[in-house]
Symmetry: C2
Subunit: 346 residues, 2 copies
Amino acid sequence: MNHVVIMAGGIGSRFWPLSTPEFPKQFIDILGCGRTLIQLTVDRFKGICPDENFWVVTNEKYVDIVKDQIPTIPESHILAEPAARNTAPCVAWAGWRIRQEDECANIVVTPADAVIMNVEAFRAIINEALGYTAAADAIVTLGIVPNRPETGYGYVESEAVLCGNVHKVAAFREKPNLETAKQYLSAGNYLWNAGIFVWNVGTLINSIRQYAPQIAGVMDMMVPDGGVPSKSVEELFPTCEKISIDYAVMEKHPNVCTIPADVQWSDLGNWQSLHEKLEKDSQNNGCVGRVDLYECQNCVVHTEDAKKVVLQGLDGYIVSEKNGQILVCKRSEEQRIKEWSSGEKA
Amino acid sequence: MNHVVIMAGGIGSRFWPLSTPEFPKQFIDILGCGRTLIQLTVDRFKGICPDENFWVVTNEKYVDIVKDQIPTIPESHILAEPAARNTAPCVAWAGWRIRQEDECANIVVTPADAVIMNVEAFRAIINEALGYTAAADAIVTLGIVPNRPETGYGYVESEAVLCGNVHKVAAFREKPNLETAKQYLSAGNYLWNAGIFVWNVGTLINSIRQYAPQIAGVMDMMVPDGGVPSKSVEELFPTCEKISIDYAVMEKHPNVCTIPADVQWSDLGNWQSLHEKLEKDSQNNGCVGRVDLYECQNCVVHTEDAKKVVLQGLDGYIVSEKNGQILVCKRSEEQRIKEWSSGEKA
């Protein structure tokens, strides 16, 4: 059976005040389409696995939000992390739990907060990946076909075709500088690592056992294959090594593959990418929420709670409002938002 | 006895969203000093008349706000207009009512929403004016000594000294064009009409009887000198001619005087004048409320309800927030705020 594991533990504050540690980005209708990012993620996998095979790993403080936003998910499939330990322990926990229910599980692991506009193409690729890993001891990672020399993402270097659209991965590449990113783009076989992995439960568990044995040891106590846990999740989970699944497993595994995916993906990691995704008016403003604009251009505006917002004479600004917090800043300065959101100015 | 009549019926929307027709400017702590404009007006007359001699004329929908903000005022001294008829009927009603309680009353009439920073000098001038009108059938109007060739105010042309600092008024002058305003400023005997008048109750009533007989006729029915009113305020007041006290009486009365007043007056009629009155930071920003500014200059910011506001990279903007409504606009465009506040943008 197919299963989908949604990693939803992020606390991103780059979208403050829209996103806060109490209510992070994945739980927000950031595109103004009526569905939050995690809901869009669930929607994207409709038809790939039944409702009862969804899993969400998130911080314990977001469990109620998950229940509220994804009422179809079994409560026992919401894995509540008592502490953030990066993605390897998160994936491991899901894998160990899925094995308890389905020893033949075939698993997609995905972040909760990416956006994919071409869902049909995405589903075809996921189905091809699941078909491949159903029989093979391999990891298939989605390789997003780049459209620009992006320096903000890691890359997957692909080589020969193994089968259909499945390519062998030559290497994972760290975030490049601009020159290298340009070379990657023109070479054509470098893809963005979107953090979407497909593998069967045996490959998952064996990989973690081999390449992240400390985490596997914790999982064996926390989620034993038969018998009862020796200690609680609260005691055990925080003892896991804090490491990403990429570093812990992907970069070491000998059989990682990729399917190049041209699916209009965006990680929506910042206001810039939100502006790109939003429908723009004739003055290149992208707005979510009720706003009256006069002589504004190149702005990205997201309002949630305000009853009325009037903006005049702004060019190239971010305007964001939620829950009595307001931000107005130049789009060029968005990397400072995180600092402003927490800082008490002197 | 001295009485103070505060005219507080304005519904100005030039400070939207700070000021709204439901809660206009005079009831707002626009300076961020802890007192609303009408409270500052009451404070200004402390020592000039006792609490029980204050009167407020306002629209009926603001009565509860007045009670709340000026708990010392007798409830029967809040005159609730069922309709806005400009200032002449408002002053007349107060005059007729005061005569019922005090036939020898000496009265100051003042707007509720001006700001006077030099209260000590102001009180001295008011006392001199009251001393003059206690014995004379005259109207003394405060003439604000101008500091710029302002085209937004009416002027009072003063001439010879009658007594002390009391000058005869030669004429009232309409809002001038810039050239005329410059001539007024250099001439030295043209003063701003601040709408603050001092007269005794006999002069007040006789003046209205002579120069605004329609209004006097309504008042004789509404507030008879002995006996009971023939009809209700709701029926009678709206039948008054809609006219300002300046047009109706001041410009026609033969014995209007003025005392030049250098009292750091401001009508706070717009964001520009608020910016002038506020303490500025090193970048010429004037802020009321909790705001974090980064690389901002020449801004005027007023926040009321927001928990946190971060502004970056704004030069010469108005930022105002209240009750879930937000405005960001260039200071040069503030004359359009009124239109934006009511308009539903297509």
